[in-house]
């Protein structure tokens, strides 16, 4: 599941960490807990400088080889997190077997209820506010209130008429 903060889930067969430099900091306390408990783990690094970047095909291979009962932690920038999450889900990691922690600027697509145009909204990581503000559709200029109704086909949230 998408969470704000990584939490250590005890008693798993093995722990898998998929992250980059910044994500490593976010996951550090979980890694510490795993090490402290003497549990097996693997860590795969992606991103950072181009030489040590692990291509997605290798990540896919690595995830596919994992056995049932292994627990996955992923921490990446929001825009990279989504594709990895989809990959992991396709491979068979359920919401109960993984945690995904994004950082940085989050981009949200908003589907305009009136014209069907997509407006990209950037959420700052510092933003404490859960509720997205009202936004203006960049195609038809309608003021939209962004709902939590999500379409994976459109990869977007539905924006409703904000003011009648």
């Amino acid at each position: 599941m998408n969470t704000e903060k990584a939490t250590f889930i005890p008693d798993k067969r093995k722990y898998l960490f998929l992250t980059d430099q910044k994500g490593l900091v976010i996951l550090q306390h979980v890694i510490d807990a795993v090490v402290e408990s003497n549990l097996p783990f693997e860590l795969v690094f992606i991103g950072g400088s181009s030489e040590d970047e692990t291509p997605q095909t290798d990540v896919s291979m690595w995830l596919s080889q994992q056995k049932m009962g292994n627990f996955l932690y992923v921490s990446l920038q929001w825009d990279k997190l989504d594709s990895i999450k989809r990959l992991a889900e396709d491979i068979g990691f359920s919401n109960e077997e993984a945690q995904y922690i994004g950082y940085g600027e989050k981009k949200t697509n908003v589907f305009c209820c009136r014209c069907h145009g997509i407006t990209v909204v950037r959420e700052k990581e510092t933003s404490e506010e859960k509720e997205l503000p009202e936004i203006r559709c960049k195609h038809c200029d309608l003021l939209l209130s962004v709902s939590d109704h999500y379409s994976s086909l459109r990869d977007a949230y539905l924006g409703y008429v904000a003011k009648l």
């Binding site: 009136r114 379409s151 539905l158 009648l164």
Partner: protein
């Protein structure tokens, strides 16, 4: 005429309160469509909307064509069986001619070959019936809205919902998930068998009399909610009822969901004492989260005042 309209109106209520529930019952008269006196007007409106706003009114995923042909055959069968005076199909092997006598139209095509039709099969047959038609496909223990023709929606977007699973579609309904109604209804539909159709009625109130209450035009028709007063509610506000019918399609194992929308001005509803009393009680008691979702909150009091005045007159 008025008596007939009241007699035919699919009045949806039982008891003195309303809650969300799986209120489906077996459909005795196993016909997916109904032809009413509004046929010509509504087909005209439907076709106008389809040509003007194709994306809003029609969506299909590429893997639905086989299912669409099954729907075309299924609905044609109903049309010609239950309304032989209005519809006919001539078949010579796969060479079909569909004849609509009400519209004086004929379309010849090769069954299974969509290049011989002017529209996709679901879009074609949908242009001959008053119903909106939704096609849900079943896979991985779930149902997905993979195609639909929707001209008269009750404030939702087919273009946005296409491809969604059953629970994703119903996510915006408050309390639906918390009460596990989505799960229960999904299970119920997945257990449906071919030859055993079900139906239910869904209702809301509508300020104005538009059949096309699409979310895409809510900024226009939603304004009408502000115009409701206790003086005009009888003519202006309508009880909107959707007759929804569910069929399991035997070949593709999908679900065909037909929606026939009916509107009745409150004035006519109030002319029937039983309905007037019952609906007044239901509206007065309706929990706020349901009233909110149905978009009634801003004018509920005006409507209630109108209904109570009618009740007083009758006492």
């Amino acid at each position: 005429m008025q008596v007939d309209e009241l007699r035919r109106f699919p009045y949806p209520f039982k008891g003195d309160m309303y809650r969300y529930s799986n209120n489906s019952t077996p459909l005795e008269h196993a016909c997916s469509i109904e032809v009413t006196s509004g046929y010509l007007r509504e087909i005209g409106l439907k076709r106008k909307l389809l040509s003007k706003y194709p994306e809003r009114c029609y969506q299909s995923r590429s893997h639905t064509l086989q299912g669409q042909w099954e729907i075309l055959e299924f609905v044609s069968e109903h049309l010609t069986t239950y309304h032989p005076d209005k519809f006919m199909v001539r078949k010579n092997g796969n060479e079909w001619t569909f004849i609509n006598k009400l519209l004086r139209e004929e379309q010849s095509f090769t069954f299974g070959d969509e290049t011989t039709l002017p529209f996709e099969p679901l879009d074609f047959i949908g242009r001959h019936v008053q119903e909106d038609m939704i096609f849900m496909m079943q896979r991985d223990g779930d149902l997905f809205l993979d195609a639909g023709q929707l001209c008269f929606p009750a404030n939702w977007s087919l273009a946005f919902n296409v491809g969604m699973s059953f629970k994703e579609i119903h996510q915006p309904i408050p309390g639906f998930n918390e009460e596990k109604l989505d799960e229960r209804i999904l299970k119920f539909i997945m257990q449906m068998e071919a030859g055993d159709p079900w139906w239910r009625k869904n209702w809301s109130l509508m300020a104005g009399n538009r059949l096309d209450a699409s979310i895409e035009t809510f900024d226009e028709w939603g304004q009408d909610r502000k115009k409701v007063t206790k003086e005009n509610a009888g003519e202006f506000v309508h009880l909107r009822v959707e007759v929804q019918k569910l069929f399991r399609l035997p070949l593709t194992n999908g679900i065909l969901f037909t929606i026939h929308t009916h509107l009745l001005p409150l004035k006519k509803l109030a002319s029937k004492r039983e309905w007037l009393e019952q609906f007044t009680n239901i509206l007065a008691e309706l929990p706020s989260h349901i009233a909110e979702y149905k978009g009634i909150v801003s004018y509920r009091n005006s409507v209630l005042q109108y209904l109570e005045e009618r009740l007083k007159e009758r006492r």
